[in-house]
Each structure stands twice: as C-alpha cells, then as structure tokens.
C-alpha cells in the first residue's frame, strides 16, 4: 500500500518512465529495501486500473516501447487524502511481547529473563540504527529515528512490565486457579 503512494508521490513531482520510478523509489525511500522491477510494474498496473495514473505518451527509438507514466487528478486527490489521514497504530509487536510474558507466567517460567533478553535484542538493534544514522544522509537518519523511537517505546513498556511482574503474576495465577478443572 505504501509503495503505491510512494510511486504516486514520485509521479506527483514529474511524469516518469518505469525504470526512473524504480530508481527514484530506491533513492528516496528504499535504500535498505529496494523495490523489485516486478513490484514496480505490478503496482503501476493497479494504479492504471484504478485510474490514479495514466500512460501519457509512448516513445520508440528502435528499442521496445517505453511508457511515460503521469499522475491523474484522481490520483493526486487520493495521494493528498492519504497524506492528510493519520495512520492506524500497529500494536503487533506489543501484542507478541504481552503474549510471551503471560505465557511465561502460565508455564511458571521466568518472564523477567525473557524480558531482559528482549531488552538486549532491542538495544542491539538500537545500537545498529544509531551507528547507521550517524553515517547516513538525512533521509536515512529520519528513517532510523522513526525505528529508534518505536523501539524505545517498546523498551519503556518492557521496563514498566518488569516493574509490574509481581502483581501481574499474582493476578494471572489467581485467574488460573479459577479456570482449573
């Protein structure tokens, strides 16, 4: 979904050929995760089908036909609406962490050991991102910042959960007694 809007964004700047879109996408958005040509053309087909882009001109110079893609009014309006709409939160990571903590308590394992290991893994990733942002350009820095702040939020949740483990264990054990057959 984001790749469609990223391509629309590039086309919002200027009409482009397919290979230019791939090059610009990789440069502006996907230094670490370049877009495959197949994905570029599949996305362009969907955008054409939805009338968000059009093929403006075809050019032939002895080689295969090249299509120049351009954003339509509908595409621009959709792009602007997407930009103005806040994203839904993605609580997946937190959900997995929570399920692991509760599972550890249910199985009488030590959830604090799991949380300590998770903290170490988070900090290791934060170290990598910090190193990356210190040698990268501003675009890479902003992407690393985004990831760092999310990892930091997870860590704050981990710290708070560690502080509440005793109470949580008590509560889960009491519920467990109620549900025992």
């Amino acid at each position: 979904m984001s790749a469609s809007y990223a391509l629309l964004g590039i086309l919002g700047r200027q009409s482009s050929y397919g290979y230019e879109l791939k090059r610009d996408y990789d440069f502006f958005y996907g230094k670490d995760k370049p877009l495959a040509f197949g994905q570029v053309y599949a996305t362009l087909s969907r955008l054409l089908r939805d009338k968000k882009i059009s093929t403006q001109a075809a050019e032939q110079s002895g080689g295969p036909e090249r299509k120049l893609y351009a954003i339509t009014n509908m595409g621009r309006s959709d792009l602007e609406s997407w930009l103005a709409t806040p994203e839904k939160l993605h609580p997946n990571t937190q959900t997995v962490l929570f399920i692991k903590v509760v599972t550890a308590i249910l199985l009488d394992k030590a959830p604090n050991e799991y949380l300590d290991a998770q903290r170490a893994a988070h900090l290791e990733r934060m170290r990598e991102l910090t190193a990356l942002r210190r040698k990268g350009d501003l675009a890479q820095l902003l992407q690393a910042d985004y990831a760092l702040f999310h990892l930091e939020a997870d860590l704050r949740w981990i710290d708070l959960t560690v502080a509440r483990l005793q109470a949580l264990t008590k509560e889960i054990q009491m519920r467990g007694v109620l549900h025992e057959r």
């Binding site: 290991a117 170490a120 893994a121 900090l123 290791e124 170290r127 210190r134 930091e152 560690v162 502080a163």
Partner: protein, 231 residues
Amino acid sequence: MKDSGFILEAREVTKSFGLTRALQGASLEVRQGEILAIMGPSGSGKSTLLHCLAGIFKPDSGEVWFDGQRLDQLDETKRTELRRTAFGFVFQFGQLVPELSAADNIALPLLLNKVGRKEAYEKAVSWLKRLDLDGLEGRRTGELSGGEAQRVALARALVTHPRVLFADEPTGSLDSLSGEKVMDLLVDIAREEGRTVVLVTHEARVAAYADREVIVRDGKTSTQAKAEVAQ
C-alpha cells in the same frame, strides 16, 4: 597487584544512605576505550554506582579498582587528586559556574592543575571550536542555551584529557536535537582519543551510543545476555 585487563572495576559494592540501601552488591568491569552505559529505573542505584566508581562516594563494602589500584582505599586527598587529573565529569545540571564565561569555565580545571593562563585559554578556545561553539568564549554560561551549556560542560570535562569520562544523564535536561548533538560529539571525541566513558542514563536512545550496557535494579547489576532475535 592483580591485572584484570580492565581500567575500572566494581566488585560487590554496597552503599547505604541511612536506612536506604542504594547498592547491594553491584559489580561491573570497564575496558580501556570502552563506552559503557549504566541503565536502570529512577532510584535503582545507577548514579550511586557511578559516584562510587569515580571515587566521589566511598563504598560501605566491596572494592573499586582503577588502573590496577584500589580506589576505595585511597584517602580523600588522593581521590580528589585522581578526580582532577584522571577523570572528567558531565552531569545533568549545574556543573558550570554561571558568573564565569564559557572560556573561563573550560580553562578552570587546567588552571587548577597549574597550567599557565595563556595555554589554558588557548586550549579552552580550541575546545570551543571543536564543539561548534566558536565565538561564544566571552559569553557567560547563564546566557547559553541548554545544549550549548552542556557542550561547554563536555569541553570542560575533556580539556584535561581524562582517562575516564563519567557522564550522569548528560542529555537529561535537553531537547532531542540538542541531546543528539551532545551525544554525537561526546562519542566522536571519545572514539578519536580512545577515552573510556561511563554513561548513566535511563534513556535507551542515549544508551544505544554505548558499546554495551549494564542494568542496575534494586542496587544490583545484571549484564544483559545476547539474545537471538526471532525471525
């Protein structure tokens, strides 16, 4: 004298303040040139541990070793001397003299170490340049922004070329951008000059500048194990 290969070590250190047991057997080791983060929640004992490592507090029991010598067994005069010559400090607040200029503040530790006035001020000005503060030498520290003042504090801590830099929440009172600038400079200089850094922070983003972290919880230390990340 046992050579452990570490420049700084705490072994089973305890420290109480009245009935409050701040440290209850904290241990850690720091290698030469390493940047170590001490993390933990408020009141966990992380700042007390830093103060014991730096010879500011004398532990109730346990050992603190610096460069092969028992720091905790030195008398106050020798510990003060060591703090002035071998250690540098950056704290969250209030370490600069507000009545003095930025250059005065940076030159001060050199003057206390009997460095000549001209040389001390030349060094102060060169450190100001190094920390992107050129032109601010005559400015009183009370007239500087929080980020600028903290960079002056960093310059003052590093001007004597300390073997260990102790930083206690160095970005705690700064906004994100100013904090980032301070940490970038601190780490760049520490790496360039091979300085050892002990950094106390509760912020994971700051700890991520370090080579590794030690967690302090209820006055005890635990080094985090490396974890394989699920794919």
